[in-house]
Symmetry: C2
Subunit: 267 residues, 2 copies
């Protein structure tokens, strides 16, 4: 019932892995996109022998319902610093996810640093809001992660969206299980969509593609997250994410392209 | 000598294409990364039968010196709205670029729109600065594109970087050749690095990965571009880009992860 257990993969020695999309990571029957990415990334980490996804891109091809799954990895380039490889996650022979990533071993850098940004300012945990609390929305996924939303960003739950396409909050794995860099990938897709706060007539926005950059291994403890959307145009929207660890360090950046469903044609 | 000619590819009927990394698109001997991406994207557009790269990711594997080249495309998923496919660009059997993208036909959307952003405010063209002018830096690439930098962002040329990791300016193909959505990909990597303005002891920052989202086909005319870097940490930096067309519409967003070269060890 841990993230580590539920992303475990079994190598078959030929670049393929057996695994399963475990039950309990779903929202309305389909596994969370970040969990699916983590599953493929776990296989890639084994396959490349390098633990940290420095930059990884996933294209979402079909919903991931729980069940036995299969990952096929292929090397693109084995370099001195990066192993670049692809992975394809399938369930029942149906492709769910296509992934391209560069893996490495992240070390604390002694290089020049420059930061124009800061973790989101959040009230203390106890003053933030669990999204499922009292909202009649309690999907299994919300028992695998612990989210505490900034109160200003939680109004969508009660029909009072803030009007700002933003979602900020605290994040950790259920029970405080330590997060590795692969858990960060899940974190980049664990929050409710920014669009829920945007006062647009939009509900479900399926992810077309998600790219995450992992900058550092996270320190133990709660992470702080901020997601924003600036451009809802042409039938698409981006969602930009930042994850900051308990020491105040940026550990991951993400951007996903999501689809704005076309309005239903008149019946 | 046009962008269209210099990104032309010849299909061999089996998902592979012969082409060439044409001379003249290089900076110090290596082709511009956006040009290389455009070359692979041109093959993918042919291969999928869909002209517009909605979201495309490239991993840069080795420098692209001019010469005969080869692109191998493979289908990931042929969907109703998107064709997802991979491409590998090779020169002399050496992989240069690995690409994963979703292609479609972009149409003007009647969907809800929301924009929290605007094109960069730029002085008129004649008051902006061609980067190669009077700077002793005149690589072949600068004759294939026309850039006009915001004067505030051009100080790096004369040893007076602004201190802001930003680069803004006008962009078009040489001679005003119309830009298609594949030319936009090149535009996302056509400007001098933001880091040149950051007052950091950093020169060359090779691209590890670049992802671009194309939102719309550009109207004719000059494009406006803005590139910014917020986080130089852990030996990496991101560069976020926006391209806006002459009608003031966002046509592309991009983010690349670049490598901060490790300091040379003492001799």
């Amino acid at each position: 019932m841990s993230f580590a257990d539920d992303t475990a993969v079994t190598p078959r020695g030929d670049g393929t892995f057996t695994t399963a999309i475990r039950p309990g990571w779903d929202i309305a029957g389909n596994a969370n996109g970040g969990y699916l990415l983590a599953l493929a990334a776990r296989a890639l980490a084994h396959y490349t022998g390098r633990p940290d996804p420095v930059t990884i891109t996933a294209h979402y091809l079909s919903p991931g319902k729980p069940g036995d799954a299969f990952v096929r990895c292929e090397t693109v380039k084995q370099g001195k610093r990066f192993s670049t490889a692809t992975a394809r996650l399938e369930r029942d022979g149906v492709p769910v996810l296509q992934v391209l990533g560069a893996f490495s071993e992240l070390t604390a850098g002694g290089t020049p640093e420059r930061i124009d940004g800061a973790p989101p300012e959040l009230p203390p945990l106890e003053d933030c809001i669990a999204p499922q609390a009292e909202a009649g929305f309690d999907p299994p996924f919300m028992h695998r992660v612990e989210l505490r939303l900034h109160p200003e960003d939680a109004g969508f739950r009660t029909g009072k969206p803030s009007g700002v396409a933003q979602m900020r909050g605290w994040f950790r794995l259920a029970g405080g299980e330590p997060a590795d860099t692969i858990a960060l990938l899940m974190g980049t897709d664990a929050f409710p969509p920014t669009i829920f706060n945007a006062r647009l007539p939009v509900g479900w926005t399926p992810t077309v593609e998600l790219t995450a950059h992992v900058r550092a291994r996270p320190a133990p403890g709660w992470l702080r997250a901020r997601f924003t959307t600036r451009f809802v145009t042409g039938g698409f929207l981006e969602e930009d994410g930042e994850l900051w660890d308990a020491t105040g360090r940026l550990v991951a950046q993400s951007r996903q392209l999501a689809l704005l469903p076309r309005p239903e044609p008149p019946a």
